[in-house]
Symmetry: C2
Subunit: 259 residues, 2 copies
Amino acid sequence: MSLSPVGAGMVAGAPHAGYANMVGPYGGVTAAQMLQAVWLQSDRLGEPLSLTVNFCAAVADAPFTIHAEAVVTNRSTQHWMVVMRQSDKVVSTATVVCAVRRPTWADDEVRAPDVPAPEQTPVSLWEIGRAFVDRYEWRVIEGGPAAQLGQTSDHSRTSLWLRDAPARAIDYASLTSMADGFFPRIYLRRGVPGVAGTMSMTVHFHASAQDLAEQGSDYVLARAQGQAFRNGYFDHHAHLWGRHGKLLATTSQVVYFKD
Amino acid sequence: MSLSPVGAGMVAGAPHAGYANMVGPYGGVTAAQMLQAVWLQSDRLGEPLSLTVNFCAAVADAPFTIHAEAVVTNRSTQHWMVVMRQSDKVVSTATVVCAVRRPTWADDEVRAPDVPAPEQTPVSLWEIGRAFVDRYEWRVIEGGPAAQLGQTSDHSRTSLWLRDAPARAIDYASLTSMADGFFPRIYLRRGVPGVAGTMSMTVHFHASAQDLAEQGSDYVLARAQGQAFRNGYFDHHAHLWGRHGKLLATTSQVVYFKD
């Protein structure tokens, strides 16, 4: 991540070559950096509850700054506006809601599917020449990208076990990055990899800091499915659970595609 | 809606008594006003694609201004940051993505459930003393608020037909408002109406302007379900379809609750 404070509400960094995608860095890492810019602020209240990141322009392989401003602080919630710039040009915007968590009645209504354990799921090797792929251990249960190449499908569901490579304890930034760990759903439907890019991504965090400590470096079960594809855009909705079915986060994103 | 331009990127308005909720206006109308502030700008490109609204503070029954700034304009997409203020105090923030739509391969992957037609579904009368309720015609298919009072439930799914009252042609603002047309899911799970309030709401628009013209003043089928409830917050995910199953929008929100 390597973000350095450079003043009140301001951090500086640069894309890491290890997380490079086809054009610019993997979007999940940009999203994680936007969240982390808030996480690092001394006046942050509580823990992340919600994040929306808008990918406004391609992030160049060059230094950036992120400005995070707490626009409203209440007793137990706090609202942030976040802007990433390169050479004074806005490349990403975000809003973050932080909140103080306190114990209440609890239930995970959307249950994790019954799937084989990560140890029973073979590692998926994707040699597509994009550096960020090697920063994760992918164990695809259904709907991998290679399985569908050349054939169309009537659904775009992917389920997989995922963790950082090398394995390391999860935090809000790495959970955010994992929430973008789904190749474009249009590939599955159409059977061909085409041009596609995330426009906007939202994450709702259910995991408390204690939930993340319990998750540690264990695998995350991630499942995504497309909702509608029309007029050059689609969206998908996804869930991320811990090994024993605790819902860590939910996430949606809207994606541009060319057909 | 009654928003008046008061300068470049700025509109002024006030909450409408007809959309009052328990404290302040119904959140769906605030969300609609944030979107409409962008819609009214002369330099807007294309149509709404994505909206995230953060409810930072209670909106008072007093005038407000909304400032909408196009921070990045690309060839076919545009990114907006939007802030609502009352007496210089921020009460709501939003980001909006607009996009030029063009015909592509299309499919609605999340299909509308098989439910009775609106004409076969009785009108639900909710006499809870909140003005906004009367601004809609609600025809609940399953999971109405009254049905569950006094008894807990193992799920929080609501399906209903919804339209403006009196009926009028839908637009992006009214679709946005309908996307908030679900009472807190925690009521269904716990069987008691308690304190709850939306923190952040995201809408992905699948409907083009032409899709909305075809929808006209017909009923919208809306279905929502909670995902996880923990530590004083829950989120739900929802879909809004036209009568014949065209997905008009998807939406998620994270909600504060007291138990």
